[in-house]
């Protein structure tokens, strides 16, 4: 597969084979310090705050010998003068070989890709997609479980608004995962996503109580439940503690259970889990660099 010139906008655009090739390339990037992109420029356009995504893209580009330009605050960009997004992209494409964009509006990355002759990578468009996060989630699971096929995966917390959950569930549907959706009633997986899984004959279960299923899981993907998602604070207070993980809940789980979290965490994973072999969320964040190195190299058509 040739990824040269390809845009990375949504996990839904990728076949199973393409996903596997990206993960394979990321493995080759581990520890690599070759200036494969030394003549290339990455433009990072962050219309919304980000630390991990932006810095890991900048690190990825730097590790491959490339240069980075861009902004991390929309108030310093032409957006504050009222310039449209397509116009901004048409200008920036003349300054760079590849663009990474994070923007609050859903679909903005797709618009950017349509306005640009250089590849565009979506660093997060509102509540819609964050494909490089999904790739690094998959890469982490593959690395720690030594496989992607046939795993029992639990998704915990805010499944209604959690874009990382929707995307990862979609991606894992290529690999025959059995899925457990663990959430309060008001934050269940959207029905359209469940219909899609059903159409792909993916076995899934919806439960409210983590303890009923935790011993079955190979992987647990935890997300934060945000108070602002609950119009009534009483409802929030009723559920918030049911979805907090601490070491005491892990008695009897599979020895090789791995816990992931897209971060930042607030209180949903207790610090007492960090030093256990179950916790892989910091390794997960570090994996963002080889995965993003792989994506940059692939879309710029460089031979690895």
């Amino acid at each position: 597969m040739d990824f040269k010139g390809m845009d990375i906008i949504s996990i839904r655009d990728f076949s199973k084979q393409e996903i596997l090739q990206i993960l394979k390339t990321a493995t080759k990037m581990e520890g690599l310090r070759k200036p494969l992109l030394k003549d290339k420029v990455l433009a990072t356009l962050f219309f919304e705050p980000s630390t991990r995504t932006r810095l890991s893209f900048e690190a990825a580009m730097s590790r491959l010998g490339g240069k980075v330009i861009g902004f991390a605050d929309p108030n310093v960009s032409s957006a504050s003068k009222g310039e449209s997004l397509p116009d901004s992209i048409k200008i920036v494409q003349g300054y760079a070989d590849v663009i990474v964009i994070r923007h609050p509006l859903e679909g903005s990355a797709r618009v950017a890709a349509e306005s640009s002759d250089v590849p565009v990578i979506n660093g997060g468009d509102g509540a819609n997609q964050h494909p490089t996060q999904t790739f690094l989630d998959l890469y982490t699971i593959q690395k720690v479980k030594k496989k992607l096929n046939g795993l029992k995966i639990g998704f915990l917390g805010d499944l209604k608004y959690g874009r990382t959950v929707h995307s990862l569930a979609h991606a894992l549907s290529h690999f025959g995962a059995e899925m457990y959706f663990i959430s309060p009633e008001s934050l269940r997986m959207p029905s359209d996503d469940l219909k899609e899984l059903k159409a792909k004959k993916i076995k899934y279960h919806e439960v409210k109580d983590l303890m009923k299923v935790i011993k079955k899981l190979d992987v647990l993907y935890a997300t934060r439940i945000q108070a602002e998602r609950f119009p009534d604070p009483i409802d929030y207070n009723r559920v918030k503690d049911s979805y907090i993980l601490d070491k005491s809940l892990l008695k009897g789980v599979k020895k090789d259970l791995k816990i992931l979290h897209p971060l930042p965490r607030v209180n949903e994973i207790n610090y007492d889990i960090d030093d256990t072999p179950y916790a892989v969320y910091f390794e997960q964040a570090r994996n963002g660099v080889p995965v993003r190195m792989a994506l940059l190299a692939l879309v710029l058509g460089v031979k690895i």
Binding site: R12, L85, P86, P104, L105, E106, G107, R110, V111, Q129
Partner: protein, 149 residues
């Protein structure tokens, strides 16, 4: 018994079996209020096929395939007949296009199409009911719930 009749037209297009509540949406989508020729619109007519229906008759205009496809979005069970010399010369098949551009507004207020100068594009996901997906924000929507631009 006096009965309301919708007159026959000599040449033009008859759109029949429109769900009553959609009749004026059809008029809007086809920009018929700007027509110079005669346009007849009837709503809440009794129907054997449906409880009530709407009919739109446009003199001197043959609907294009594009226009027929727009109607397919709003009223997939409608019938479109081209009339020549008072006779039906052609029955148009209504088919919702796979790609629907610029006709409907995305219902997601955070979609880029509602906040920047970007025309909407939807892909057809199912026909019964007509369900579409916004190309940009990737949300699924029922076509009947969407505002026509």
């Amino acid at each position: 018994m006096k009965e309301l009749r919708v007159s026959a037209i000599k040449d033009g297009t008859v759109i029949d079996h429109i769900p009553s509540d959609v009749t004026f949406k059809v008029v809007r989508v086809l920009h018929l209020s700007k027509m110079e020729k005669t346009v007849m619109v009837a709503q809440n007519l009794k129907s054997k096929k449906m409880r009530t229906k709407g009919i739109v008759k446009v003199s001197g205009k043959e609907l294009t395939e594009d226009e027929a496809n727009k109607i397919a979005l709003l009223a997939p069970s409608a019938t479109v007949n081209i009339i020549k010399n008072y006779n039906v010369s052609k029955k148009m098949d209504l088919k919702v296009p796979e790609l629907i551009k610029g006709i409907m507004k995305c219902s997601n207020p955070k979609c880029v199409t509602n906040n920047d100068s970007v025309p909407t594009v939807f892909t057809l996901k199912s026909t019964k009911p007509v369900k579409v997906q916004c190309r940009y924000c990737e949300r699924y929507m029922q076509a009947a719930d969407l505002k026509i631009l």
